[in-house]
């Protein structure tokens, strides 16, 4: 049975890298005595795959991975069991059953939401001015960038890959293309914006948080990954 798990990663746990998060959840599965499926062979490993790696330094309210289990309790009971063995700043939010033919979280991922908060030392004096410029930046027809790839430099248009870019109070909200093709990091968007204003992008300008990760349903609409599954009663 395929299961999709959603969790949040807050506070100090943002310093834990992707590989260490995978190891963390492998151990958590054993502590919570989840009846997870193992691969065949001499050194069996848990069937577990993560949706989209999160960079070190970024917090998240919507991280996902899929597992396969041989048996399970209800969603509510499993969320409780997992949360009983979590550290304080990592919480399991949902545990949902997928259809057997359901695509993996990793292959579904196509967009993610981010919020960016100014750090104290980087808050613009003229906040409204900043956001007006950001609006103009996003309002352009094309946002040309040169991306450094393994094969050399690549000229590309960022615009169609930024689905939303807007002000939310004192924060920046953006929805960008995510996944194996056209993976856009929020830092890249902001760096391009700063460059368009002839400014250097300060290294630790924002506190960045991922809010949600999406896949496309059969109609092509973006829906949160957890909605591809159903609660187990």
């Amino acid at each position: 049975m395929k299961i999709r798990i959603k969790f949040l990663k807050q506070g100090s746990t943002k310093f834990i890298g992707h590989l260490d998060m995978m190891r963390y959840f492998q151990k958590a599965m054993r502590r919570a005595q989840v009846d997870i499926r193992y691969s065949e062979g001499f050194s069996p490993h848990q069937i577990m795959s993560f949706a989209a790696p999160l960079g070190v330094g970024i917090t998240s309210n919507g991280e996902y991975f899929d597992i396969e289990v041989l048996s399970t309790d209800s969603s509510k009971a499993m969320v409780d069991r997992l949360n009983n063995v979590m550290v304080e700043e990592i919480r399991v939010l949902s545990y949902r059953k997928l259809e057997d033919s359901g695509k993996s979280a990793m292959s579904l991922v196509c967009a993610a939401d981010y919020t960016l908060k100014f750090r104290e030392n980087n808050r613009p004096v003229d906040l409204d001015g900043f956001f007006r410029e950001l609006e103009d930046f996003y309002g352009q027809e094309q946002i040309r960038i040169t991306k450094q790839t393994k094969k050399g430099q690549k000229e590309m248009d960022l615009k169609p890959l930024i689905y939303r870019l807007e002000r939310r109070g004192e924060e920046i909200f953006m929805q960008v293309s995510t996944g194996s093709t056209d993976n856009i990091k929020p830092e890249l968007v902001m760096e391009t914006f700063y460059q368009s204003r002839q400014q250097n992008f300060p290294e630790f300008a924002f506190r960045i948080q991922r809010e949600e990760v999406y896949g496309r349903d059969s109609r092509g609409l973006l829906i949160p990954l957890e909605e591809f599954g159903e609660d187990i009663e």
């Binding site: 100090s12 492998q26 151990k27 054993r30 069996p44 630790f204």
Partner: protein
């Protein structure tokens, strides 16, 4: 949200920021304002090494069971953060509360190997605690050391207020109670040190004076305070099943060196190898009961979620209920994807059978530790492993499908001759020949691979070889070349590989291992010259130490290559480690006469450890 001592900017600019954030699974959280004692436990090496150490986990758990105590941890900041802490004057902090270590009541530092001594000074220095005990005031933590290197604490005497000699489970509670009483009565640091000096196993270095003869050896070692006794007897757990073990080990986020459940099955060793400090100072051998181990195996796997469990002991094959334990583990683990790791097993039919069940034969290698290349020299070191046993074990293993063998040797052992060195190559060759004789051509998976490694021998306190002369760096390397050249002459040269250790660092280890208080000044000078992470070959810089020896006017040869007489007073002689000096002398003389001593289960050799009233000395006697 958990408070962090370091800003995001700092944490995001150093390697592995997860080393410094704490918050791991099973971390103990207490309100510091509710406790009487804040204890910071330290392993003076990088997080991934320190977190792999079982002893700290045991003490962490034991201390935190006390309601009046909050035990936290600190490790050596890596060189990148070290630099930042110095530049920005940020005091070193404990992982749990992220509070500065300097505000704690105790800083406990485990002394696992000599090459971490400069890192001890780093911890003190970055914590902004005076390096010298005599410069500390009521404001500073009590700095206490323990662990194997505390069996010769003298090179560190200046830097510590107290040393705990022996196994930590026994008198720490008494020490902490004394601390709380003393504090509540409003009495001083010195009052506490005097109380501590009267607790068995506790050594207060400033309460002793050392005088030296003209030749540099010790003339006298006498207490200068009425609370301090002439001798400090090591502490020891008599009944292992009564000692506290860990209920919920910390599970780090980072992949640490020992990323598994560690189950200590016994303490001590019956074998009596004459070079081995652990085999002497942990005498007598004491086993855990099978039920105790089954309980903890289950419990620890449940509370950690680790995917591997490893048995820990000096010689697992000597555990009397090993088959029952191993079968239990196989039963428990195989269906849950948990690996079993069985280090320090003697290679025989039983262990091969077990290993074929728990490991992938094609991927794993067999390990033998003959330690010396010839039977004569193996008799000198009392390593009861014969060539016949090795070849027999290898043959059975090759039949079972293994084709990789690791061999561990030492070079520079007392009485070593050219034939003993060349024996390393000859023995490796014989094992290769056994492979080609045993396994028919069509069943071979490529060549047999035999990797022989030699470390250089360092004489350690409380071993029969504590009187031995150590080799110089040049002698060590000469010996390694003799072995290497012999390997070239072997028929199966292409199946054999030979590695050897670095010699500089071995010589230094030799100085620190048998050093006295004068060596402490060299450690401090080397640290001030920039020596740090000396156990990491990429950071070890011998020139910093050479300069330190020169500037301090201390001759390293005095500690390494000098002949020691049987009458000499050693810096560690004030410690009663259980094994008597008379026994060690007898063993040293038997070594020189190439005579072996039977193991504890064959015949008691009267080492002195029977006086502790437990363990193997009383087996089959109840």
């Amino acid at each position: 949200m958990r408070k962090l001592a370091l800003s995001d900017e700092i944490l995001l600019s150093v390697q592995q920021p997860a080393r410094y954030i704490g918050g791991e699974v099973n971390m103990v959280v207490k309100d510091p304002s509710w406790v009487d004692i804040r204890f910071c436990m330290s392993f003076p090496d990088v997080y991934e090494i320190g977190m792999s150490h079982l002893g700290i986990q045991i003490l962490y758990d034991m201390f935190n069971r006390r309601e009046d105590t909050y035990c936290e941890r600190v490790y050596s900041p890596w060189t990148d953060l070290d630099k930042i802490l110095r530049e920005q004057n940020i005091p070193l902090f404990a992982l749990e509360s992220q509070d500065p270590v300097k505000d704690f009541d105790f800083l406990g530092i485990t002394l696992q190997y000599e090459m971490c001594y400069t890192n001890i000074l780093q911890i003190l220095d970055l914590s902004q605690i005076p390096l010298h005990s005599r410069d500390r005031t009521e404001e500073h933590p009590i700095v206490i050391g323990g662990g194997p290197c505390a069996y010769n604490p003298e090179p560190l005497a200046e830097f510590f207020d107290l040393f705990y000699i022996g196994e930590g489970e026994t008198v720490y509670n008494q020490l902490l109670d004394a601390y709380v009483d003393n504090k509540k009565q409003g009495r001083s640091r010195r009052d506490f040190l005097e109380l501590a000096a009267e607790i068995p196993g506790i050594y207060v270095p400033c309460f002793y004076d050392v005088t030296y003869k003209n030749d540099g050896t010790i003339a006298g070692f006498k207490p200068n305070n009425p609370h301090a006794g002439e001798k400090v007897t090591k502490e020891l757990v008599v009944d292992m099943d009564q000692a506290p073990y860990i209920e919920k080990p910390l599970v780090p986020f980072l992949k640490v060196t020992q990323d598994r459940v560690v189950l200590e099955i016994q303490r001590g060793c019956i074998r009596g190898c004459r070079f081995c400090q652990a085999g002497n100072v942990y005498r007598p051998l004491r086993e855990h009961g099978l039920d105790y181990l089954k309980h903890y195996a289950r419990q620890l796997l449940e509370t950690t979620g680790h995917e591997e469990i490893s048995l820990s002991s000096l010689s697992s094959s000597d555990y009397t209920q090993l088959p029952q334990l191993v079968n239990f583990l196989i039963d428990q683990c195989s269906s849950r994807g948990i690996n079993i790791s069985l280090p320090s097993l003697r290679i025989d039919a039983f262990s091969l059978d077990v290993m074929s069940k728990v490991q992938d034969v094609k991927k794993s290698s067999l390990t033998f530790a003959p330690e010396a290349g010839s039977q004569r020299l193996r008799d000198v070191i009392n390593k009861g492993l014969t060539e016949e046993v090795i070849l027999q074990g290898a043959m059975e293993a090759f039949k079972g499908g293994w084709n990789r063998v690791k061999l561990y040797f030492m070079l520079g052992l007392p009485t070593e001759q050219r034939e003993d060195m060349e024996g390393i190559a000859l023995l490796s060759e014989k094992i290769a020949e056994v492979y080609y004789d045993t396994v028919p051509k069509e069943q071979r998976h490529g060549k047999v691979q035999i990797v022989a490694s030699s470390s250089f021998f360092v004489p350690k306190p409380f071993t029969p070889f504590q009187w031995a002369k150590m080799c110089t760096k040049e002698e060590f390397l000469e010996r390694a070349y003799i072995v290497k050249n012999k390997f070239r002459e072997m028929k199966n040269f292409k199946s054999l590989k030979y590695n050897w250790h670095e010699a500089d660092v071995t010589v230094l280890e030799g100085v620190l291992a048998r050093g006295d208080r004068r060596v402490g000044t060299v450690v401090e000078a080397a640290y001030k010259n920039g020596a740090l992470f000396d156990s990491w070959s990429e950071y070890f810089d011998n020139s910093l130490w050479e300069k330190a020896f020169e500037d301090c006017g201390v001759d390293p040869d005095f500690y390494t290559v000098r002949e020691r007489s049987l009458e000499e007073i050693f810096p560690w002689d004030f410690i009663d480690a259980g094994v008597s000096k008379e026994f060690l002398k007898r063993e040293w003389q038997k070594a020189l006469a190439e005579q072996v001593t039977p193991n504890c289960r064959q015949r008691c050799s009267g080492c002195g450890a029977r006086g502790f009233g437990g363990g193997v000395c009383y087996e089959d006697q109840d």
